[in-house]
Amino acid sequence: MVLDAKIPAGPLAEKWSTHKFNLKLVNPANKRKYDIIVVGTGLAGGAAAASLAELGYNVKAFCFQDSPRRAHSIAAQGGINAAKNYRNDGDSVYRLFYDTIKGGDYRAREGNVYRLAEVSVNIIDQCVAQGVPFAREYGGLLDNRSFGGAQVSRTFYARGQTGQQLLLGAYSALNRQINAGKVKMFTRTEMLDVVIVDGKAQGIVTRNLETGKIETHSGHAVLLCTGGYGNVFYLSTNAMGCNVTAAWRAHKRGAFFGNPCYTQIHPTCIPVTGDHQSKLTLMSESLRNDGRVWAPKTVELAQKLRKGELKVTDLKEEDRDYFLERKYPSFGNLVPRDVASRNGKEMVDEGRGVGSTGVAVFLDFADAIKRLGEDAVRAKYGNLFDMYYQITNEDPYKQPMRIYPAVHYTMGGLWVDYNLMTNVDGLYALGEANFSDHGANRLGASALMQGLADGYFVIPYTVGDYLAKIGPKPVDTKHPAFEQTKKEVEERIKKLLALRGSKTVDEYHRELGHIMWEYCGMARNEEGLKKAKGLIQNLRADFWKNAIVLGENEELNQSLEKAGRVADFLELGELMVDDALMRKESCGGHFRIESQTPEGEALRDDEHFAFVSAWEYKGDNQPEELHKEELVFENVHLTQRSYK
């Protein structure tokens, strides 16, 4: 099977306009004859549901939380990129495109990334019009800040709560359409399968989490806007409920999974304190605008700090190693996330880590406070400093923060073409749920941009083309595929509820997380990955014998919810390992120890690996089949990334 990404021909800057003109349209009177299912109500899903309803389609939107406003996009802190060039500092659509392609270590599609940069400017306009209170300067115009991997200031922000404000903007647009009767909203409802009729996605099976009722819903197209799968690692900055189930169910129904091994480990998170830990908390990348990352110069000094024989504030300037500034003078503390994370890990591996566990480095604001004053630092980062204090009981105004990398985002996801359609007709994936725009590493402040770009400005055009082609004939809800898929979902629930073993689902999840972090985390090698594959297989087999799943289906049952999600993670984990094994090069967040430059940077192998891996499910416990989409670079020249 040849994967067709459907990238339009023609010059890069004209691809999207040409494509929009060539897409078929649905006339206004016919739009109300189409039903569209949107699963997930974060930035991508909320924006898509609202925008499609505004156009006149009938939308059914689903979220597992108690309100669409809770989607995990809300937790994004630092900002959203847009090529507005309001600072007059040399930004442009092309520069944002270039930074993103380079930041992704040349493993993303040129066409997609250029479109993303192009529509980025519209996103800011849209959000301001909705009443999103972005940070402003005294003159009344919008403020910007810098983020990693860029030498211009193009990040728009709303204190440290940008995701919240953007999501509440999308939520308000969604509310307006719910009020208008164009969106029917289903909360506390989890999607458990996709219904495929004659090769087309035409519905979903859901479980009402309050009553346990299993239902089918039909639509002319199904949009999965269900986020990433970082929780496969158990500990991550994701919300507790984030899961891969919707995407994984779609994968098992034929949708290819793209680049599953590309995971983003964020350099600045609050370190783990103990086994009780349920999640990790990010400290925004924006902090690296003013915070300086360092470790003690020697192992001895680090030991003294760990034992409390030396206070961090007493450590002399010459005993501090500002390792990012030292190694990368032109980008300094603002190197991309993958580079910053690996360097932090290196310090810890050398024995120069700090904190009681020794698994952390410092992020220091002393200079910024001296330069700008405490009030100015508080105005910029106050909520983040408060959050840090709540969790650690240490005051970052008085002593440096301790930080360490943590799983934050997954660049991989369902494979989609330029129209955001998976290889299954009528099945789309938007936002973090797809693999499309970030290559092997996402730059900071680009996730919000991609989610909203997909939802507001891409899908309203591309889904119309498909709908126009299939025509407005109502979906045949009597087709046996609906009943059959529902039956399969019910059987799986029965199977889960029959598990009355001795280990809790959380215990399995934690164990899987350990395996993934150890062997498929910040650094990977062949030996470790092979070992991980066996461990995951055993763990999965054990889960289906020995897990405890209490209660019944017809109630609010958290054991059951978790069990279904962890069972899917146990399958996904193995695919991630397979993908990491197959990709015998390093690129972005995927660091194969066997493939590095003499300076220890990720060494790509463009000759053999300049492709997207797209995996096809072949049945339970069967090896998946690899398909390759070659990446074609007509505009940028592939180089070894350098931030020196």
């Binding site: 309100s67 009344g140 309050e210 009780h276 709540q390 209490l550 958290q558």
Partner: protein, 263 residues
């Protein structure tokens, strides 16, 4: 910081569903580290319940970093526990002491019926937002983001109102179960910004009407909502909302009339 682990007694509200009566059940929480968050402490209790084959305690939670608004819990008589300006998920066990008894209840308010144990149905909040908590602009065709300058103080003040996470602590704290703080935060945010002006008076009327329909009580200016709000939303929002509401009722009532009969 941490001086060893704690043993605690929990009195937890257990209720199978909205139809059945609930009651307090006592549990022991043992070996609790002061570095755990309150919800992680409940995780530990739940793990031990599951091992014993008992139904774990249900509570709502998601982001666990104080921003999604999903977590709730009335802890020792305070929404989100004894500390100010944080959510339950940000509350750490170092705020408690060894041997302490902790009482944990759901939000108590008629418009927030209990779903199970400590989780309540807050969909009334969504319906209030749906009634008018937005600016009516479609995607596309909007002016450049810098076309309208907004004074920094106005933008910052609108932002302060916009930080509401919709958790419902204000309602839980209020003796009348009033939702005025919640509703006024959105009314204020949009009422202060130029983008919100065209619908300013319609919005306040629609949202207040829905708030009343949901059965939330009246505001008597006690200020418990402000004191307990994890995001420190100010009572001044309520003043602004009252101001807009009265001007709407006195001078601009025709707008709502027009809306309900138009189109």
């Amino acid at each position: 910081m941490s001086n060893g682990n704690m043993n605690l007694t929990l009195k937890v509200w257990r209720q199978k569903n909205a139809q059945t009566a609930g009651k307090f059940v006592t549990y022991k929480a043992e070996g609790i580290s002061p570095d755990m968050s309150f919800l992680e402490m409940l995780d530990v209790v739940n793990e031990s319940l599951v091992h014993k084959g008992e139904d774990p305690i249900y509570f709502d939670h998601d982001c666990r970093e104080g921003i999604c608004g999903m977590c709730s819990l009335y802890i020792n008589g305070h929404p989100h526990g004894p500390k100010r300006a944080i959510t339950t998920c940000q509350l750490h066990m170092r705020s408690f002491h060894d041997g302490q008894t902790i009482t944990i209840e759901p939000w108590r308010a008629a418009p927030f019926p209990v779903i199970k144990d400590l989780a309540v149905d807050r969909s009334a909040f969504d319906r209030i937002q749906q009634a008018g908590g937005y600016v009516s602009v479609n995607t596309g065709g909007v002016p450049d983001a810098n076309e309208i300058a907004i004074p920094k103080v106005i933008a910052d003040e609108a932002f302060n109102s916009a930080t509401c996470i919709g958790c419902g602590a204000c309602v839980a704290a209020c003796k009348n179960a009033s939702a005025m703080l919640f509703v006024s935060a959105k009314v204020s945010q949009l009422g202060m910004l130029p983008q919100g002006q065209p619908e300013r008076y319609r919005r306040v009327q629609s949202m207040v009407a829905q708030m009343d329909e949901e059965g939330f009580g009246s505001c008597t200016n006690t200020g418990a909502c402000e004191a307990e709000c994890p995001k420190e939303i100010k009572l001044t929002n309520i003043s602004r909302m009252n101001n807009d509401y009265f001007s709407a009722k006195l001078f601009r009532q025709e707008e709502l009339h027009e809306q309900s009969h138009g189109e």
